[in-house]
């Protein structure tokens, strides 16, 4: 439980991240509340994306990456031995910076996850497809052409398809790594509206370069920074978005959000 009585989904304690000898993150403490949007902001190269990727162990794919400290999901350390990473990634879905639909049909993209978990029944799958695409606000645009290639969609549609693909495995948390950086303002607007709706059901963590987006969208904001090139990234300040953007404790936070560096 956090101070205001909300359930905590992720609890990071003294988390360090190493890439071989290089320390990329140091001493990260973070509480991520259920059914809220937590934004991670900070200048380029400060480790925001790396921090996000620690939450579903996506860094495992990088040779030499190692995490120390605690990352609890519902009170259980996801970095403990024999933790089921596949199950973790099902519970904690991820949307990437560049829309990355598979070179398959829209239908196959959405059913990819459910099929992995052994759902074969056609009707069930079709139900999942419709529901996921509706939730991702894409259904009306693709309803008649589910069998066409996902690559024929526009960038914004592809990104919403990627969100639908994540929703199809009914995750508890959705991680988004700068999901709008490759999109135009209108597509961005749609994704933001969508996320505001999704937070009723899901816990959302979003990395963004766009300060306005963090301010508009999130309930909590974490500001990451590195002191000098080669230093590890650290959390400078973490708190309710309102406080961070109107009355930050740390001078560096204020300088960053008012656009004086980074």
């Amino acid at each position: 439980m956090s101070d205001n009585g909300n359930e905590i989904k992720f609890e990071l304690r003294e988390m360090d991240l190493f890439y071989d000898g290089f320390k990329a993150l140091e001493d990260v403490d973070l509480d991520i509340e259920c059914r809220n949007i937590t934004a991670i902001i900070g200048p380029s190269g400060c480790g925001k994306s790396s921090a996000l990727r620690c939450l579903n162990r996506m860094n495992d794919l990088v040779d030499g990456a190692r995490v120390e400290g605690t990352v609890n999901l519902d009170g259980e350390n996801i970095y403990r031995k024999n933790y089921n990473v596949v199950e973790l990634r099902k519970r904690v879905g991820m949307v990437f910076q560049k829309p990355n639909p598979f070179p398959k049909s829209i239908y196959e993209n959405v059913t990819f996850g459910p099929r992995l978990f052994g759902i074969r029944d056609r009707e069930t799958l079709e139900g999942i497809v419709e529901e996921s695409l509706r939730k991702a606000a894409l259904w009306s645009e693709v309803e008649g052409k589910l069998k066409t290639s996902a690559l024929a969609l526009s960038g914004g549609q592809q990104q919403r398809l990627c969100i639908a693909r994540v929703l199809a495995v009914s995750p508890e948390v959705i991680l988004l790594d700068e999901p709008c950086s490759a999109l135009d303002p209108i597509a961005t607007q749609r994704i933001e509206d969508l996320l505001s709706e999704l937070k009723e059901t899901y816990t959302i963590v979003i990395v963004t370069h766009n300060m306005q987006q963090a301010a508009r969208l999130s309930d909590y904001t974490a500001f990451f920074m590195i002191e000098e090139q080669g230093d590890p990234g650290k959390i400078v300040e973490f708190g309710p978005t309102n406080t961070i953007f109107t009355n930050p404790d740390d001078e560096r936070t204020e300088r960053y959000i008012t656009g004086r560096f980074g």
Binding site: N56, L61, E87, K98, P101, F102, P103, S149, L151, V166
Partner: protein
């Protein structure tokens, strides 16, 4: 490509535009004139060099193509009429009399190719998947890669002798399709491995992330995302390998055989793939008076087969590419 410099532009860069008055002053316009002459000279020289280079490069390309056309032309002119005769293609080979055909040789070639592919593709693709997706970059992968690269430079006749010693004699397979297929599989393994690995590496990393991010294991990712995406590359590699097998003679001579009269039926039968049989007919075939006709016809037929296979490789790759829906 032709350089197309705008002279006026260049002069402007060197000296800013002059007023009418200034132009009247003799010294300035003299400098300008000389400058312009120099630029024009440089330009002319560049244009001439460019033209010479273009002619030379075209000439070299045409020379290469010309040789290829000459070889193909010669083979076809000498043998095409024979190669396209049904009696020749489907006929039985003759050891002493005239008028023999090459049907058993054609069957041998394809039988051998299929057997080889059946051995080489699973091995090569499997190894490539391991190398590209599972193995950590380190000394093991480096050694395997170095080994594969070295193997691909070994002359095929060496493989032939190795295959003869190991499969034909030691394993007691005798001269047979299986012994040949095993040898040729070794010969082609590096190529299959390399093309598959390249194809897998060319699959964007974002597909891997997307798949694993949805909770797929590494193997599920390979099976459902990477292999389908890499299929055009793998298929092209496979068809080209078939082409190489069909055209291979040295390794075949030592392991499969050079002349038969009956169509081979089992993998343990001796056989005589076309390329090996052509060599045999040219060098020792003088027992039949029309050996020249047989060899030339067979060569033309073999050439057609290889050309068609290469064409098929292209078609298959394009087809897969389209099905993947790559719009860009």
């Amino acid at each position: 490509m032709k350089m197309d410099l705008d002279t006026d532009m260049d002069v402007e860069v060197e000296s800013p535009p002059l007023d009418e008055e200034e132009k009247a002053v003799g010294g300035r316009s003299d400098v300008e004139r000389r400058m312009r002459e120099r630029i024009e000279r440089t330009e002319r020289r560049a244009a001439i060099c460019d033209r010479i280079a273009t002619v030379v490069i075209w000439g070299l390309a045409l020379f290469g193509l010309g040789i290829l056309a000459f070889i193909i032309g010669t083979i076809l002119v000498r043998g095409l009429t024979t190669a396209l005769t049904p009696g020749f293609v489907f006929g039985k080979p003759e050891a002493i009399r005239e008028g023999g055909g090459i049907w058993p040789m054609i069957v041998s070639s394809f039988y051998l190719a299929l057997l080889t592919i059946a051995i080489a593709i699973p091995l090569g693709v499997g190894a490539a998947i391991y190398m590209a997706e599972f193995a950590r970059e380190g000394w093991v992968t480096r050694v395997v890669r170095f080994g594969a690269d070295s193997l691909s430079t070994v002359p095929s006749v060496v493989f032939g002798i190795f295959g003869m010693v190991l499969f034909v004699i030691y394993f007691g397979l005798g001269y047979s399709l299986l012994a040949g297929a095993l040898t040729l599989a070794l010969l082609n393994l590096p190529m299959v491995m390399r093309t598959t690995e390249e194809a897998l590496k060319a699959v964007p990393c974002s597909y891997r992330e997307a798949s694993m991010g949805l909770g797929a294991t590494r193997w599920e990712t390979v099976k459902k995302v990477l292999l389908p995406s890499a299929m055009p590359g793998i298929t092209t590699g496979a068809v080209l390998t078939i082409g190489r097998i069909v055209g291979e003679s040295a390794a075949v001579i030592y392991t499969v055989g050079i002349f038969i009269r009956k169509v081979p039926t089992s993998p343990l039968s001796p056989a005589a793939p076309m390329a090996a049989n052509i060599w045999h007919t040219y060098t020792e075939g003088a027992l039949v008076s029309d050996w020249m006709r047989v060899a030339n016809g067979e060569a033309a037929f073999l050439l057609l087969v290889v050309l068609v296979l290469n064409l098929l490789a292209r078609l298959a790759a394009n087809r897969f590419q389209k099905r993947l829906g790559a719009v860009k």
